[in-house]
Symmetry: C2
Subunit: 709 residues, 2 copies
């Protein structure tokens, strides 16, 4: 589509010149015309007689609306009269609108009254645009006015949106079915509405000074989509430019930071209990094989390592400097770090923006930028990169190697990651504290993890994305290759700023994150434990080859609950083919239930579990397996765990690697069985029918959005 940018530029210039921050309705219409957004025929009348003449020209019925950039919510001002079918009605409406508008706001400049073709017989929807401090320009879509407000049934995409994305938005809302035509109503023209959304998203994108936009309502009919009312708000103050190094620059620095060959510890200390001592110990005890250079002007040696007064005194090259000194000394030392061409400064100290010392943090960042040093933190526990045996942190060491990389903005969550990982034996590649995120943030990390062969799953705890758009762009690319899980904290605190449009007000909530993260293929975890379990489980579970999931259970009761959990987590139970059903029946008692779940019944010996599980693993039509084990005397927990480990192990040897998740119900011995299964890389949980399915569901969500299913 060719957009008429020149016209838009001219109108916006006039708005700016007149010191206005909102467009009149006819200016709005001109912008729509320039960007292919259909609006009803309309003209502005300045007298009742002219309104009547225009109405005849446009054709009845018509709507009259006050035309004034000082009155944004026209309905509230009595500035709208609809359904006018005659000259006399039009004249009367003209006068009443003028009177109401004056009464509403005596100082409003009233240009006239718009006479508009009345569009009807269609669905009312809202399409809008807004400017998010993190994500930038967003396009929004929802059902008609009252509904979008009360039900909050609205979805967002980054602007500009493609036609494909715009179409997907139509299906994203809860009321999507309504637009397809329910109970005899005609479905809408989806292409027309999607095109309107796409065009608005380009308008928002091409002109950053358009801060908010409402097309409300858009009448979506069976052969058209028409924006009946257009409201456009502008903000001509230029947005601050974001610091965006190139991908190559990011990678060069991040590789040296995450996998350093030499580490300096600024403020290394021989004194037990000091952070500079804990970091040294963790580096050494963790088994880091690179060079370790303690920096301390008052020591010659710390923990057996030669100590230097300054990084400038170190003979060889250094990749990272871990800061263990008070905040006020950081900037000064950072200059030397830059001079030494150290790639990254790990700023453990607190005392920066988190306690209101924004200026100090800005100063440190400026020094870093001037010296080409990337900053991690400040106000962090440090980071771990296990495949280098690197514990660059004052916390407890961690060395269980695996393929999950985790990051947290909060130290508390970082400690939960470490405790959970140790307790559940989750192998990790990296754990990174991002703290105040003065510089390095999630998209830098993602860019590194994308090409890090030691990392196959990324999980991030985030309180705010400083540059949501950059993150979304990187995540969309990375999540196609590796699952990216996010726990977005702070669902309530947003949206305090006053907004001047519906779309703006509605954007001030968690739905923006929800929609953009989904668009980027990020798997959202609802809470801390989910993030941890997803991280652990996504690593263990192979990618399913299809949507067909079968439940095999010894407890009918578990089967029902597992099926419920499938519904909750978007896991699709396979409709059992007759021959497969018959094959299962061969192995289970006549009163057992085949179908899906396959209920082998409670009194069965280990062979029944073995036979049915083997069948499910072998048959190619089945893509994933959910097992419900019931503790009985005939098949005790450890017997089950042993046979399952064997069966799955044998299948893996034959090249069959389907996702298998297990729920165990029984007395406390099932906990031991879970531990054994975990050791055999089989995801198993006691006393819950929910968690195994939730984790499988997360894997499916990822596989679908990565286009693997």
């Amino acid at each position: 589509m060719n957009y008429d940018q020149a016209t838009v530029k001219e109108i916006l210039k006039q708005v700016q010149n007149e010191g206005r921050s909102a467009l009149t309705a006819s200016e709005g219409k001109q912008l729509c015309d320039a960007y292919g957004i259909p609006t009803p025929a309309q003209r502005v009348a300045t007298s009742a007689q002219q309104a009547a003449d225009l109405a005849k020209e446009i054709g009845f019925p018509v709507v009259l609306k006050v035309e004034s950039s000082d009155i944004l919510h026209k309905t509230d001002a009595g500035g709208v009269v609809t359904g006018l079918t005659s000259v006399s009605e039009v004249k009367r409406a003209f006068k009443s609108i003028k009177a109401s508008a004056k009464a509403f706001n005596a100082s409003a400049r009233i240009v006239g009254v718009q006479v508009q073709q009345m569009v009807s017989g269609a669905h009312e929807v809202i399409v809008g645009g807004t400017t998010d401090p993190s994500f930038g320009k967003l396009v929004a879509f929802g059902l008609g006015g009252v509904l979008v407000e009360v039900m909050q049934d609205i979805t967002f995409r980054l602007a500009p949106a493609t036609g494909q994305q715009a179409l997907a938005m139509l299906d994203d809302i809860a009321g999507a079915e309504i637009l397809k035509g329910v109970r005899g109503a005609e479905g809408i023209d989806r292409q027309a509405l999607a095109a309107l959304i796409e065009n608005l998203s380009h308008l928002m994108h091409d002109f950053p000074e358009i801060s908010e936009m409402d097309l409300n309502p858009v009448m979506a009919g069976s052969d058209s989509a028409t924006a009946v009312d257009v409201r456009i708000v502008t903000d001509f103050s230029p947005a601050e430019a974001r610091y965006r190094p190139s991908q190559e620059e990011i990678l060069t620095a991040m590789r040296r930071i995450m996998q350093p060959d030499a580490v300096a510890v600024i403020g290394a200390s021989p004194e037990d209990g000091k952070i500079g001592n804990s970091v040294m110990k963790n580096l050494i005890d963790g088994g880091y094989q690179g060079a370790i250079y303690p920096i301390n002007p008052r020591a010659d040696e710390i923990l057996g390592r030669t100590c230097y007064k300054s990084v400038l005194d170190i003979p060889g090259a250094v990749d990272i400097a871990i800061f263990c000194i008070p905040a006020r000394f950081v900037a000064q030392v950072l200059g030397e770090v830059g001079e030494k061409q150290i790639a990254g400064a790990i700023l453990i100290p607190s005392g920066f923006a988190e306690i209101g010392e924004d200026e100090l943090q800005a100063e440190v960042l400026q020094v870093a930028r001037d010296n080409n040093v990337r900053l991690m933190g400040p106000n962090i526990y440090g980071f771990y990169y296990t495949h280098k045996n690197l514990c660059a942190t004052f916390c407890t060491p961690y060395d269980e190697k695996g393929q999950v990389a985790l990051s947290s903005q909060s130290g508390g969550v970082g400690m939960a990651i470490i405790g959970f990982s140790r307790s559940s034996k989750m192998g990790v590649s990296a754990i990174v504290g991002l703290g105040n995120k003065s510089d390095i943030d999630e998209d830098d990390l993602l860019t590194f993890f994308e090409q890090d062969d030691n990392t196959q799953v990324v999980a991030m705890h985030v309180e705010d994305l400083k540059d949501g758009r950059a993150f979304a762009e990187v995540a969309e690319r990375v999540s196609k290759k590796k699952p990216v899980v996010m726990l977005k904290a702070g669902r309530t605190a947003l949206g305090a700023k006053a907004a001047r449009s519906h779309t703006g007000a509605l954007a001030g909530n968690d739905k923006v994150y929800d929609a953009v993260l989904r668009q980027s293929g990020v798997i959202r975890a609802r809470n801390l434990n989910d993030m941890l379990e997803y991280a652990r489980g996504l690593q263990i579970l192979p990618t399913p080859k299809g949507e067909n999931v079968v439940i095999v259970t010894g407890a009918g009761g578990s089967g029902v609950l597992l099926a419920d959990a499938c519904l909750d987590h978007g896991v699709q139970l396979m409709t059992m083919p007759d021959d497969l059903d018959a094959a299962f029946k061969e192995f289970i008692p006549p009163f057992g239930a085949s179908g899906n779940p396959v209920d082998i019944t409670g009194g069965e010996p280990p062979t029944t579990y073995r036979n049915t599980i083997e069948l499910a693993l072998t048959d190619e039509r089945i893509h994933s397996l959910i097992l419900g084990y019931w503790h009985t005397i005939i098949t005790p927990p450890m017997v089950f765990a042993t046979l399952l480990s064997e069966v799955v192990g044998e299948a893996r040897q034959r090249g069959i690697d389907k996702p298998v998740v297990v729920s165990l119900v029984g007395d406390v011995e099932v906990e031991e069985a879970c531990r054994m299964l975990t050791e055999h890389n089989i995801l198993a949980y006691p006393y819950t029918t929910e968690k195994p399915v939730a984790v499988l569901g997360a894997k499916y969500r990822w596989a679908r959005s990565a286009g693997l299913l």
Copy 2:
């Protein structure tokens, strides 16, 4: 309100006599008139001229609708034309309706065409009634046609509903705000709409032969509520009468069953591994102090207890007989059990309805009824009543005494209850297997637990409520005194039966359980683990005295996540009064955040935790406390756990007993800290910010619905 039952009776009789199962629109209107349900002025016309005359009489605009009991969905048949404003339009519409209806269904008996006053300028809602196999008559309410279908935004109550309940329904739906008037729209007349709902619910209740009813739409205006279209479906086949012993009868039997003084074991066995042997061992090893009578014709003594050939040979009275014999022998022995005046038979054996042997189960039930014996099961693990040291089960024994009574319909879930209880040291009063529920079901159990001083919390796993109405009635009473938690399994399987109305179709889903359980004050658990955690937590947490909840956290990151969880679980964060804010500030570093959460920051010593927690416990304006602990070197996990146990212990001694829940993030030592806190009766969880708040939320849900807040 006085209802004109006679008119309704007469009309229904005529419908029955004519062999119809649906009422015509004018019959429907008459029923509405008789029950005070407003409908628009309307008359039936049999000619176009008559239609025009009636329209003039009623006043324009009018609606014309085909009148035929053979055409239920009039719109689909082209049988409705709205907005007719002149005689000529009415005449044309009359003809087109007749033609369309004939084309739609040539054999339909068309009585005529209704001319109806057109009600407008109001909100379209749906009010309906349906007959649920378990709950009986239900009344439903939701927003207008398309919305109720697509958004499934509908709520239910048992019929008859009180005016108060009907009013509450208006707030129950997601779109509730719409009815209050949004963006300049007028709010509706809530009393009028509630009265209409209440009246419909009485109509459904008074005439069981009305199986389904749709008032769709009801136009809810600012001063009225009018049922524009009425559809009534009947079913004259009489419903089966339910067996409902009196409360006194239930109690007399259940007391003897749950707290027996003498127990017979039918099929007691000396042979290891037999169920009749396991039960004997569990009774003896469990420490049961009452009389134990093994019954086995081929033994003199089992495990040191004198054996009898039949219960009739036992010298003293016996309260329960535990059946450990094959299904086919049960009925015969049950006769003797009745003769011996034993109150209850615990039917462990399987082989009944669960494998399709419905007749055998019915036969056994008949023998039981004839002999005044209550049946638990069949197909169960038995039951535990810890305060009598009674393990009447073949499963592992359990003896941790406490005040939670649990029941499960499934044996697998029963084993999960036992394992979880043992693992988390949850004290229980009873664990009961209900299995096939041939007789004793949840409302019998609830009736017993209501008056059982050893039980303060009830948690039930339910797959189906055989008599949902009886359960709801008992639960509504009991839940006022003791929390009742339910895990309702099988959210997907419902609703297979074809329904002839909107309301009927919409009732075939989980929303009915959701609404009725809420109406009954039952706390619904979404999954197995939630049920178990709620049961455990509700017992430990005291009842809060108000809604003001404060978060005190050492980790800012946990604070944000805990606040998110509060939003998810309906826990209300207190707006901190200035003086209290200042008081907290005294104890925390200047850069810590007061307000709520109170962020004491991570580097603080134990005294800071102590001071802030003491303040929160002492100040009477704070009603509940959520703690976020962060593992640091300065305040290690066990130091925190010890100080918290002390502070809470001291407060309890001073008579202050507020709910306190704790989230601990840190390395694996936090698990030990959680165990210690649990021993001190403080609810604490590692690696999760969700669970402690979820459990607190469950306590609040209960306290609110029990009227304690």
